[in-house]
């Protein structure tokens, strides 16, 4: 009886939260948008690998060899090269029209065949960091192959003492849509759960309904839990639907691991993020403050989680700090389960970390919430 008396109000308050959410058509619309169009377009639009890089060539040789090299540069990695003159080199690079400009010196073919080792110049716009770096390595390999084939001199191949066999695992075709969309899903899950929970608290305070709840036989813990489960559930269901329909449906991503395990991880992650939302709401005094604060917390949390750039390249201090953010662990689990098909044994550590982080945030926000109520 006592247990029932504790959980029943939590249940009904949660239902109330959901009703309020569904009756704000604009907010609900934005939510649908984020989980469908947002996730889909992130998949379609975000590729940090080299695709369609813009290349120009200055061909001062005009020989069959230079033509051969130029024709070797083609989609999908590169756009078909555009031929420009030497004078245009600096202006087009300044404007950022091309990331790469390859310059063939006069007499390139002649010198190659004569073994004079001519210099081939590759100009790279280094402001386009990721693309310029990998792209230049790609181009170098392309050129080398083209020149080798042309000269009919299989310089190393025939005599190779060791062959390197590279196998890309878990995403053989290096399809970046799958990566981008899943990371966006993680971001939307995080963003929505923090904002929805935080904003519902602030709203309750701004509209004076919080004081009203306090005169009822409810404890702060009940008020807190009601919010956590309801907002968490809404976001969880939307997220799983998005994974099923948009990512594995619309973008045809094969899910390697178990949905159930991913759902468990998502639930734990949401426990942590919704608790963070409550925590922010106890710090913020009004909605604009909450908006700014949420942004300040969410942006680093999602950008540094390892979903945008690799975790291990971050400075040690940042890595250490990010270990306290739920997103870091959630991204690790998402990648392990969805792409690599990892089982519980592999991700158990991260799940434990998520639970501890969630519990920590929950306890801190509970104590802050209690204190803010006492002072109200």
């Amino acid at each position: 009886m006592k247990r029932r008396g504790f959980f029943r109000p939590v249940w009904h308050l949660g239902i109330k939260e959901m009703r309020s959410l569904f009756r704000d058509p604009m907010l609900f619309g934005f939510m649908i948008f984020a989980f469908t169009v947002g996730v889909y377009s992130a998949g379609k639009g975000s590729s940090i690998d080299v695709r369609d890089a813009a290349v120009a060539v200055v061909d001062q040789d005009q020989s069959p060899l230079s033509q051969r090299v130029i024709s070797a540069i083609h989609p999908p990695e590169f756009k078909d090269p555009v031929v420009i003159s030497q004078d245009e080199l600096i202006p087009v690079m300044d404007k950022g029209d091309f990331t790469f400009v390859l310059v063939f010196p006069p007499g390139f073919q002649r010198d190659v065949l004569a073994g004079r080792v001519p210099e081939l110049q590759l100009n790279v716009d280094a402001t386009q960091m990721s693309q310029s770096f990998t792209g230049s390595a790609h181009l170098a390999a392309l050129i080398s192959r083209a020149v080798t084939i042309h000269t009919q001199r299989r310089l190393v191949d025939s005599a190779l003492p060791v062959n390197l066999v590279t196998r890309m695992r878990f995403n053989q075709t290096l399809n970046s849509e799958w990566f981008g969309s899943v990371m966006e899903l993680v971001n939307v899950l995080t963003m929505l759960s923090v904002i929805l929970t935080g904003a519902s608290m602030i709203r309750e305070r701004e509209h004076g309904t919080l004081g009203h709840l306090l005169v009822m036989p409810l404890t702060p813990l009940q008020l807190l839990l009601a919010r956590l489960w309801s907002m968490g559930l809404v976001v969880l269901v939307a997220g799983m639907l998005s994974l099923r329909l948009v990512i594995s449906g619309g973008l045809a991503m094969p899910v390697a691991g178990s949905y159930g395990l991913f759902m468990l991880a998502t639930a734990l992650h949401l426990f942590a993020t919704t608790s963070m939302g409550v925590l922010l709401a106890t710090v913020a005094r009004n909605m604009p403050q909450l908006g700014l604060m949420a942004m300040l917390v969410i942006m680093p949390m999602t950008l540094l989680s390892g979903g945008t750039t690799p975790y291990e390249t971050m400075p040690q201090l940042v890595q250490w700090l990010m270990n306290l953010a739920p997103t870091t662990h959630f991204v690790a689990v998402a990648q392990a389960v969805l792409y690599r098909g990892a089982g519980l044994d592999v991700v158990a550590g991260h799940l434990l970390a998520l639970s501890l982080i969630g519990l920590g945030f929950c306890l801190i926000s509970l104590s802050r919430f209690r204190r803010s109520l006492a002072a109200a």
């Binding site: 950022g96 402001t127 390595a137 878990f170 904003a199 009203h212 680093p300």
Partner: protein, 897 residues
């Protein structure tokens, strides 16, 4: 002055006005009386053009008020004060700042603004509080200030929507004498006042009594009394009602307290509450018997609510103690909450839930059994005549019905005691009568103790005992009639004022000079755009921002912190890739291969998997990104020319990174082959790669010019969006509807402060980039600054556009995040150059301003490009900004619907 014909108005299914016609002459003082929800506010809104007309015609001040041109022209001669305490004020601004804002909206404001504001403040007795934020004024002071603000333009037509609802008697008296003074000074001014209180209605020249969207009577107050043969306007109103609506009305009679020794329900001893140095409640003691109706009377902010909160245990007392039914009240005690029903001052139910849902939710929260919940909900619906509203959302109910719902919710668990904080303010006489009948029955028949605070003197007369409170202290206590007798006055209101400390009654006679300022130049066609009006909005927005240092700090410091974090953390350099080795060979050759990998800066780790396992299962853990696998007999094969195969298993969960890893493995493999051959490479040609603009290939140099635009976009857009949606939620948007401000002035005025804030932000970010991160800025800073302004113009415009679509702040925050974070990060060229986009993405990237500003930032920071090279990026930004502003202007409504 005003001619209205056949006005009808409906909100969804609710008919708010039905064929109302009336004329108002110049100089008239017209009262519009009637309970809440009968269409008074709608009528006033239509007469002033604040609300959009649906049917009928209105001619106000000599023209069709629904025509924008006419409205624009006459809006300077018209003043409108919306319903609700201080609804036209900006809560964060001080008294004098609010006045300055309004004076800026009207021509002639700037010149003699300062002396005029000083005089006004002095005359209405607000001078001592001129630096106090409006939010911290008492209700009466808020209304006086609201009136001053409305009078800033010296109007010919003054429209007040329930100006004194919720204001204490003394302030009410002061407010009316202020109006009288104004009318004496300017007899040609027409004043229309809506009121739900019949006490007040008696003083008007002419009274329109409304009910159900129709006019019941239109006459002078005494004529009305004579016509209905009643002595009091409350009764007259009831007499005018159709028979069907009078059901249940009967004069109230309070029986004697049945049982003299029923026991003590509430006892309080020396209750004191301090907030910092401010004493809200000072040494309050009382004893209330079971079944008694105890009234608490006093002005707003006198400590009534605080006392009630201490009694319910919501607020711990600083000193003193209270007992409920003999048990001491402890803060947060659940038992107290089960015994007490509490109804707070503000409407505090869930507006988006229906009436039925609100009731059953609370029943369930009190842990009643499910069957009981349903039964009790039905009972309350019937008792409070809420049955026909069961499925309407609470937000759509008229105030009177909402109060009934609040009381219903407070009584849902059949409490032994009811604590009611101004339950009837703004409720019509019939409902109030029904409400009190209910209270009387509860008290006398069921022995429920009722502790009630009120503004209505006639309600106070109904209580067994009352307590008069002022400034935290109890002035007098006893039976109402006894208090009147003791003071030697006729009415309780006079008695109350009699008991008040002498200094509280401020001199309020000389309101006449209020309007003596120079008459405004009239008949001149108002300018379509006025800088002063725009700046008035900018100034008040800026002041509001400065009043909230936390928001300001987050906006400025936040971006800096973000940039430091992202600058350090977002590193796209691929280095120290962790790898593992599965070695089936264990030869010198395989070890050499591994050492070769370890020798580069690209790879690290290289631990041996023992015993040799499946490469996939190693990768699955995610600890390493690469597994090198050497087959058995690798070492022997290398020298025997068997061409053995080395396996490189790469984790492609992050495709972009996998590609880099693959490239590096191949490069290191080539190096290994060369070391095997022991000779220098016999290359056919030399590839010379020049990394331009960033020779050192520092990530940060490339990141900073892309991060700055992203941060500026988000922060600026969110703040701008909230600034408008906040006005919508808090009600001050009415000023925009009711004053001559044009849409452009409003939009640009709101945009300007955020442009300024964004620009400071921008300068700080650049200083951080150059000074802290040592990112070279090779181009011209002024050029960058001008582009930044243009970009911020786009960003704040985008925020304003979002605000025209959303009505709640949550939706605005989330929507703006979606509209900025995703396009700015994905289509801004941050990670993926615009040049390599295709189709729709390319189109978005070309339209959205971030990509252009990223180009400019990169151009100026790294490439030293000039205006001639950058204008192709500036033009689309400018076009975007202007287009967004035009879209905003089109979306922004000038009238309420």
């Amino acid at each position: 002055m005003i001619e209205a014909q056949g006005l009808s108005h409906r909100y969804g299914d609710v008919q708010a006005l039905e064929a109302v016609s009336l004329t108002v002459a110049q100089g008239e003082l017209l009262g519009v009386a009637g309970p809440d929800g009968v269409g008074k506010s709608t009528l006033l809104g239509l007469l002033t053009g604040v609300r959009k007309r649906q049917h009928g015609t209105v001619r106000t001040l000599g023209g069709d008020i629904d025509r924008p041109a006419h409205r624009q022209q006459v809006s300077q001669r018209l003043a409108y004060m919306p319903q609700g305490l201080g609804k036209n004020l900006y809560p964060g601004l001080t008294v004098s700042e609010n006045l300055a804002f309004f004076s800026g909206l009207f021509p002639d404001g700037a010149k003699n603004r300062r002396p005029r504001i000083e005089r006004l403040l002095h005359e209405v007795g607000l001078a001592p509080f001129k630096n106090r934020p409006a939010a911290k004024l008492s209700g009466g002071m808020k209304q006086k200030l609201g009136l001053c603000c409305a009078l800033m333009n010296d109007p010919d037509l003054l429209v007040l929507d329930e100006p004194t609802t919720g204001v204490d008697p003394l302030s009410r008296r002061q407010f009316w004498s202020l109006i009288e003074g104004i009318r004496a000074a300017k007899p040609q001014m027409t004043v229309i006042v809506a009121t739900a209180s019949m006490d007040e209605a008696a003083q008007f020249d002419r009274l329109i009594v409304m009910d159900g969207g129709r006019i019941l009577a239109d006459a002078a107050p005494d004529a009305l009394l004579r016509q209905t043969g009643t002595a009091h306007l409350d009764d007259a109103f009831i007499a005018l009602l159709p028979e069907a609506q009078k059901v249940g009305y009967r004069p109230l009679q309070l029986g004697a307290l049945p049982d003299k020794d029923a026991g003590i329900a509430i006892e309080a001893k020396h209750l004191t509450r301090r907030f910092g140095s401010f004493v809200a409640v000072r040494d309050v003691s009382f004893r209330i018997r079971r079944g008694e109706i105890f009234g608490f009377l006093g002005s707003n902010g006198c400590g009534k609510t605080t006392t009630m909160k201490m009694l319910t245990g919501l607020l711990p007392a600083s000193e003193g103690q209270a007992w409920l039914f003999g048990k001491p009240v402890e803060s947060g005690s659940l038992q107290v909450k089960r015994d007490v029903g509490f109804m707070s001052q503000s409407f505090s139910l869930y507006p988006e839930l229906t009436v039925g849902e609100n009731l059953i939710l609370h029943a369930r929260l009190f842990l009643m059994s499910e069957a009981d919940c349903i039964r009790r909900t039905q009972e309350v619906l019937r008792q409070f005549s809420l049955s026909r509203y069961r499925d309407s959302r609470a937000a759509s109910l008229p105030t009177g019905v909402r109060q009934r719902l609040s009381l219903g919710v407070a009584m849902i668990h059949r409490p032994q005691m009811l604590i009611l904080d101004e339950p009837t303010s703004g409720v019509d006489p019939v409902s109030r009568n029904a409400f009190w009948q209910l209270l009387v029955r509860l008290s006398r028949e069921e022995g429920v103790t009722i502790f009630i605070s009120t503004h209505y003197m006639n309600e106070a007369m109904l209580c067994d005992r009352i307590s008069l409170m002022h400034a935290g202290s109890v002035l007098a206590k006893g039976q109402p009639q006894a208090l009147i007798d003791k003071a030697g006055t006729d009415t309780l209101e006079d008695a109350f004022i009699h008991y008040m400390p002498a200094q509280a009654e401020t001199d309020n006679t000389a309101a006449a000079p209020l309007l003596s300022a120079k008459r405004v130049q009239r008949n001149r066609r108002p300018a379509p755009f006025r800088l002063t009006r725009m700046l008035a909005y900018s100034r008040s927005e800026l002041q509001d921002l400065l009043r909230d240092p936390v928001r300001l700090l987050f906006a400025l410091l936040g971006t800096l912190i973000l940039m430091v974090v992202l600058g350090f953390g977002l590193n796209s350099d691929v280095e120290e890739i962790p790898f593992a080795v599965i070695d089936h060979d264990r030869s010198a050759a395989s070890l050499a291969y591994r050492d070769n990998l370890l020798g580069s800066q690209f790879f690290s780790g290289g631990q041996l998997i023992e015993p040799p396992a499946n490469a996939d299962s190693v990768l699955r853990h995610g600890d390493v990104s690469l597994v090198m696998e050497f087959p058995p007999g690798f070492g022997r094969g290398v020298y025997a020319g068997d061409q053995p195969e080395v396996g490189a298993w790469i984790d492609a969960a992050m495709p972009g990174r996998a590609e880099s890893v693959g490239t590096y493995v191949e490069a290191m493999h080539a190096q290994y082959l060369q070391s095997l051959a022991g000779t220098e490479s016999t290359s056919l040609y030399a590839l010379h790669t020049r990394f331009r603009y960033n020779q050192t290939i520092r990530s940060i140099n490339a990141m900073v010019p892309a991060i700055i635009p992203m941060l500026l976009m988000m922060i600026t857009a969110i703040l701008a969006a909230l600034s408008v949606v906040r006005e919508k939620e808090l009600g001050s948007i009415n000023n925009f509807y009711a004053t001559p401000v044009t849409r452009m002035e409003f939009l640009l005025g709101k945009q300007l402060p955020y442009l300024l804030l964004g620009f400071i932000n921008f300068v700080l970010l650049v200083v951080l980039a150059v000074g802290f991160f040592r990112v070279p800025l090779v181009g011209s800073f002024p050029l960058l600054a001008v582009s930044a302004l243009l970009y911020l113009f786009c960003a704040s415009g985008l925020g304003l556009l979002m605000s025209t679509f959303t009505n709640t702040q949550i939706a605005a925050i989330f929507g703006t995040m979606l509209a900025t974070l995703i396009p700015a990060a994905q289509y801004g060229g941050l990670t993926h150059p615009v040049a390599s986009m295709e189709g729709l993405s390319k189109l978005i990237a070309q339209v959205y301003p971030t990509s252009h500003f990223v180009d400019i930032c990169r151009g100026v920071f790294a490439k030293s490009m000039g205006l001639s090279a950058l204008w192709p990026s500036l033009v689309p930004m400018a076009l975007f900004g202007v287009a967004v502003l035009i879209l905003c202007r089109w979306r922004l409504q000038e009238q309420q619907r």
